[in-house]
Symmetry: C2
Subunit: 418 residues, 2 copies
């Protein structure tokens, strides 16, 4: 058991979160923010709009942790129960807050509407609680001190939740957690499987768990990407940061050039930064990835400083006419070949007047595979580097994701070469 | 309270699921499958690799529902606790299963390895439980009957979990739920805000909740897309399906042409199907969306039957040289204008020999906005239709998503026009 104000539970409320179509994404944001100030999320619970279930979940959470954050169920309709259930469990009467009511009426009036009576519920505040103004919606948040513990209620829509959390909740929590902090570093890698990373990293990080300031390590795998998450905590923030830096350095040098980021940046951000530093412009020609390499690059704010554009050459005629791929190269080697990938890369570089050209062609599936070139076969070329052929496993989506990752990694390696 | 074997709780185990970086995606799959055979998911809990927390979560779940599904924590290492905790709470001794042990040893031997002693734990089975073979990994699943209830343990990796669930768990559960089923239909819309949909739909679906077979309705909003989820349940599967069909028909005709799908298909799938039926080929020129429209289209298997390709024209030179946009049109109206969008659409249609051309140009942000054309301004043109200018709210990602949605919707409307 950890000392002080250090543990939290997140209770997400809403029947839609118990369907196959919607997952609770707010808790990832909240976890990140809470971890940052040294609060561990011990458990997450998702309950429907059900008085009985919500009552039980809230009671159990309150018994377990220092901070209970409830999200959702603060709307005006009959199935929004969070405010009432929390007040009832805590034995607090609900008072109507005149200021909130006025601001709700005003909000409607500004749009030329009269506030429906049903919205009055959103002006109710459990006695002793503080209402937290919502700049983006009608439901205010609530901060309820319960002896040494705290209960926080936040509306479900992410923009409303984030606004209230940043403005009111985070500063108040930071006071309570004093100087104890939990810090996290992430090492991101590509190009090798999880088992390869684990073999090198495990002997090192198992020792780090015994350091004076212990470092905890978790390994995560996504399509084409492996991540090591390192955490350490305590009051000595500088010591923690130094320790984590040492851990990152030790692991990174052991893992070598497969590490592309130790500061949270994505592969496209790293590639973009390298292009910017080199003053180089890139252009992309893609077939099986169908725009995904380009959409990842343009996902980076400011990409217009180093990304010229590209061509999605799905039909062979586009490869020939727009990129100048010789038809006989396609005929001789097939559209999925290193020769065609190279011609696409060279073609898009020349036509779009870029410094670096990228060409991607492959079989994403489910159809189109042959014995020689099964689904998952992808040829990738970056001008100035030898082309490569990959055999990716998984469905269409997995193949496409891994192919974009491999293409970006080849660009990164080119930009790092002397 | 519902009768029979009808309620479930999912307990996801793993400290990595309590970090800001990983969410529990297995539960969406499990919910979908359980709903399909009439089992409601009442609650979802996520706990770390902690004996105390896991014990409490499992006890509470078992008290609440008919079926408890625990995922994760079945690995060979010391922090994998699920098997032991469940056996302990149920008061069942763990026996080593010789057949599982032999198959584990064999699995390692086939790769030329000796099984580490630590993996022996994975051959332990609570007395009275049935081990469920794992075709894709070492940890078998477990099926444990507890009086009228059932506890199921599944490994965390999605491929392993799905394999075991489909092969062994689903058929056994289907026996228990007899013929009672829960069915779901989804109406997807775009082009109007949630409040507009709610205003039309609410009076209708509130009546449907009173039908002989009641229909429950939930409204969900995503960037550029609103969805109505309709569910009904009971023993009379044909009656349920007829009732849901009637509900879908009633709501769809009231909502009109903003409805693009009532059978689960995405907007790009609907557009692709319309193109295929019309025998029309499409080509796309995009600037601010940077390949996202094209990557959504090529996300559809078989898109090579109707998608020619496209040009990502980030730099103005690419708009001019590759798409034939007249430089003076850019100069006079600005790169973000209906004139440029129209020239891009016409240009890509002509250069790529397509039947339909699409042009998208806008300010995705965070930089690049002006008073006249703030961040979120996007001009979209589809050949044969008048161009439109949109003002989207939200961050770069939201603007890009809404712009792709609007572009695909304009194509859909063109294809539906006589």
């Amino acid at each position: 058991m950890r000392a002080g104000f250090s543990t939290a539970e997140i209770v997400a409320v809403g029947s839609e979160l118990l369907t196959p179509y919607k997952s609770d994404s707010n808790s990832l944001y909240l976890t990140s923010e809470l971890n940052g100030i040294g609060i561990d999320v011990r458990e997450k619970v998702i309950v429907g709009d059900d008085e009985h279930d919500l009552t039980a979940a809230f009671r159990e959470a309150l018994a377990r942790v220092d901070l209970v954050v409830l999200t959702g169920g603060l709307g005006p309709t009959a199935d929004d129960l969070t405010r009432e259930v929390v007040a009832h469990v805590l034995g607090l009467p609900l008072d109507e807050d005149a200021a909130i009511l006025a601001s709700l009426r005003d909000r409607f009036a500004r749009r030329g509407l009269t506030m429906p009576e049903i919205n009055r519920r959103q002006a109710q505040v459990p006695r002793g609680a503080t209402a937290l103004a919502n700049a983006h919606g009608t439901a205010p948040g609530l901060w309820i001190p319960v002896h040494e513990k705290v209960v926080v209620l936040l509306p479900g829509p992410p923009r409303e939740l984030k606004g209230i959390f940043e403005t009111y909740v985070l500063p108040r929590l930071t006071e309570r957690t004093a100087s104890r902090r939990l810090r996290r570093r992430v090492i991101k890698m590509t190009g090798r499987p999880e088992s390869h990373v684990e073999e090198i990293a495990q002997p090192l990080y198992s020792k780090m768990a015994q350091w004076r300031i212990p470092v905890r390590t978790t390994i995560l795998a996504a399509p084409g990407q492996i991540e090591l998450h390192l955490t350490a905590e305590g009051a000595d923030v500088e010591g923690i940061d130094r320790t984590l830096e040492e851990a990152v350095q030790t692991l990174s040098s052991a893992l070598g050039s497969i590490v592309f980021s130790t500061d949270g940046r994505s592969l496209q951000e790293v590639v973009g930064e390298l292009l910017r530093l080199r003053g180089a412009w890139i252009a992309v020609a893609e077939s099986c990835t169908g725009g995904l390499v380009e959409s990842r690059l343009t996902d980076v704010p400011g990409s217009s400083e180093w990304f010229v554009g590209g061509v999605v050459a799905y039909a062979n005629a586009v490869k020939v006419e727009q990129l100048g791929v010789p038809p006989d190269v396609i005929e001789r080697h097939g559209a999925v070949s290193e020769q065609v990938a190279s011609a696409m890369a060279a073609g898009v570089r020349e036509k779009l007047h870029a410094d670096i050209g990228v060409g991607v062609t492959g079989v994403a599936g489910p159809g189109g595979g042959t014995d020689a070139k099964p689904v998952g076969t992808v040829a990738i070329a970056v001008t100035g580097e030898p082309p490569r052929t990959f055999k990716f496993l998984g469905d269409r989506n997995m193949v496409r994701l891994q192919a974009t990752q491999a293409a970006l990694e080849m660009v990164r390696r080119l930009l790092l070469s002397p």
